[in-house]
Amino acid sequence: MTTSPLANLATQTTELLAAVHALSTFEALREAEPFITGKRSILSTLQKSLGGLEPEARRAAGAQLQEARRTVEAALEIRRSELALAARAELLESDRLDLGDVVVSAVRWPASVGHPSLVASTQRELEDVFIAMGFTVSDGPEVESDWYNFEALNIPPAHPARGMWDTFYVEMGEPETVVLRTHTSPTQIHLMEGAVENGSLPIHSVMPGRCYRRDTPDARHLATFHQIEGLVVDRGITFADLAGVIETFTRKYFGPDISSRLRPAFFPFTEPSAEFEITCTICRGEGCRTCSHTGWIELGGCGMLDPAVFEAVGIDGDEWSGFAFGFGIERCVQMRHQIADMRALIENDVRFLRQFS
């Protein structure tokens, strides 16, 4: 009876496993691999030697050998990842830098100047105009409940008016109760609620901020954009004050030769409501393509606060009255800098950014 070619397999496997464990670097593993599981390994030699066996014996031996190979290969893979981790750890260790030891005075700093975002600097200019007119500036959250974004603004649940805004809904609470604010108007509600709670009416404030609408970005629209909104709640405020504030702002921000006009419009949260237009800043009112030859371009919406809004926030409309207005900051940017494609504002291309100071 001849000896099975696999008589020593157990020992051979143990030796191979020991060899795997002995591998101490990634390179060593790569070099040793052919001798452990590859063509030049004892496993491959044994595989060839099985050819002389009877079919049945060959099958049994083949299975046995396959099992041994799997054991060795598994060990090799474990070792491979251990060594990779060790190599990574070693690399990180050799790269280690104690940032507490940085000698700041020794760091060389290239002479260069940065550039502010066009939207941020425009927002600041707008804020400054309103601050000079006596407005404070208020911030509000970007994720809102449907109450603040819609219902308190006189847009009840499932009301068709909600369709005026392409809303991003947030997966939270009941469906469609949490939204990315579609306008800065919810900040008005926060302000009025807060003022009622603290007894701190009147309010004269502008609210700039980031808004979101589910609208595929194109040359004229971005899904993420910025608005600035104004709110005045005081005694004796009339539509004349609204028109006056819009006019003063227009002349101060756009220039003395640019004026404003109001025309009727509809917004659920104001009544009477108006769209406000300003003299076309391109042709200065002469008529051009931008203004469809009317000499006027639309800037934003405004109106006297709707009694329903006062009711939602608990303000007595017989004692107080007020107005709100709002418009897009990107629109001002686009008008002033004549940017053909708004998407330039979100591409963060240094060649675009560096034009503005």
């Binding site: 994720v143 109450w147 009711e311 979100i346």
Partner: protein
Amino acid sequence: MRISLSWLREFVELDESAEELRLVLDDLGLVVEGIEHVGEGLGDVIVARIDEIRAIEGADRVRLVVVDAGNGPLEIVCGATNFALGNHVPLAPVGAILPGGFVIAERKMRGVTSNGMLCSSRELGLSDDHAGLMILDDLITPRVGQGLLEALSLTPDIVFDISVEGNRPDAWSVAGVARDLATRLGRPLSSPPLAQPDAGESSSPFASAGIDAPDLCGRLTVSVLRGVKVGPSPSWIAQRLQTAGMRPISNVVDASNLVMLELGQPTHPYDASSVAGRTLRARRARSGEVLTTLDGVQRELAKAGRGLGDTGEDCVIVDGDDRVLGLAGIMGGASSEINDATTDVLLEAAFFDPMTIARSSKRHSLRSEASNRFERGVDPQLALRAAARFVEILRESVPSLQWMADPLDVWGETPHVPTVVLRPSDVERALGISLSHAEVSRILEGLGFATRLDRDQISVVPPSARLDIRSGAAGRADVIEEIARLYSYRRLPRRTPSWPEPGGLTDRQKLRRHVRDVIVDLGAFEAWTPTLGSDADFDFVHPGTERVRVTNPLASDESVLRATMIPGLARAWGRNVERGTGDVVLGEIGMVFSHPLATENPRTTKGGAGGLVALQLPVETEHLTVVLGRDDDDATTAVAFWAVLADRLGLADVVVRSDESAPRAFHPTRSASLVDRASGATLGHVGEIDDQLLGQLAPSANARRLGVIDVDLDVLCDPSLATRVSHLAEVPSRYPSAVIDLAFVTPSSVHAQDLAFALRSTSELVEDVELFDVYLDASLPAGTRSLAFNIRFSSDERTLSEGEVVGAREALIATGATLGAVLR
């Protein structure tokens, strides 16, 4: 909404030019988005007959057509294919000028000369139809060589494209726009001719009507029309519809559309023979019912929709067998459609609850001209007037049409018509101008409101069409808007108000501006990266954490609200590297979001219907994130950037403490926390972006290091967490300072800034301690490095003696020793 001037003129006398009318309409809030001159520039276009069609060699998109326009054969190259020999089509001969100023000239194409152009309906500005040539045989009996205008009995007209606001359901018609114009211009308003029901046989019991859901259907009228002959409409009706942007279909359907455009009442004609029991009923759809609408789509009815308040209510019209015929007010089904064989028509004119229509229409994604009007609110009193107008119009083509007596008229619930009381000061309090009772009454009555002067109050009852007018204080605002609108916003006074409260910024807003200024001064370009990112980006930094997700993102990789700006800025930098402009520092101030479940103090606010539900919302934190990608930038320059920023912000002592606490986006061994020494609060982190992460975010930035600073502005703005230097000035001593250098061999566990702090606190004589060198060398004991400090001593009272300096130096050395730092 497209409205032609000729149609408006049937209601009110208008001599103004189109441009003059545009100004008036705009000022009424009926904004004119475009003015079209229909039929203008068609004087040169004539009727031609197709006599021959030949292929052109080498051309597969155009053919040569030989036509006769009365002066013998004319060869024309034509790209359309929708015509046959013998058809009559419009020809613009050489020299003609088409609408839009397009001049027709002789043109040579594929070696063939084209002597004019055969036109589509759109090229002539007659409709939007651009499917092929306008085939005149479908419309009229044409005569070769005749002028097109004459052939079509066309008169040039002007079409206004008017945008009607959501609160003006009454203006969604020619009559409504005409009413505004007549009131503004002080001219009388005419009514169109209306038919009367025939005397004789009553509609009931021939047909019947009923309302099972009075809250959904406020009125259902059914007129029985007999002796109908379905055929084409007269050309003036076809033209009216076309200029309004609708396609003529048949005299019955056209009459329905014409009435809707003219008066604002949608009507629905049914073929009476296919309506079981000649009965129309309005009821709630039941769960499980299906309907195939005219557009061929099968719709599941009464299925609750997504979103607040949509219970899935649908109002349907059923016949005598309770079979669903149509989705009320939105679209009918195919089974009872008017067809060529129709002789008896049941004409439905109804009022449906606007909210029900709006929700159904949204839920089924089905908008129609009818639903657009019903969801805004159609005048509940209008139904039978509309039927009378329908009959009048249909009699143009079917003079013998019978309208059975006593049209069926069933009522459900209709909106309550409020009485709005204007108190004497109301108008002035709202508009800042006092208007006489006479002026107010003239305006309101012109618009159809009933007014009654009661002492000094005016009681106002809106017309039934004005469903937008509410009651109480809101109603007053609605009525005042109407007064202001008709008076003209432009005539109202302006006054710039002032108030004693000063304007200005909060401390937080000032600090935000300051931070922005400083980073720009330091060379940063301010970026704006996306708030919405991918799961993968989120997982890079916060694997497995709850995230704030948008349910309806525009793209799947824009579905998660960012929890850090680092991936966005790294990508923005990477794209600049690809463009060869990556030698730059980018910074952003913006919001980052954490899920309520992933934070200790979630924000709670009110939400849900009526704001009655307490909702947990994501916590929003404002961060400043800066990435430094210039050539030699790394963690070191990031620390330097931070140091200058901290100095400019007046932070007292923030320790750059290397540790493993930085978020995963940071390099594990090249990052540090920014810890306020006094409060112990962490302001943020500084270091480099993890090299493996950077490889994924900015693959083109091969092996470059990217420095990064991330600061929580909420912490930075809180003076109890981010300690500021004292605002009390320290006047430097007038006596000379003594300056020494001390180098300590310091265990790596001892932080350089801690040692400096200890040294500074050792003696009152220490004016300043500054690290100027760090020395690492094998000659030093393992686990140590040499820290060299530049130290200034001084006293406010005297010049320090040598002995005092030596003493102070000894004290500093002793301090060092307590921390294990040995003088080198």
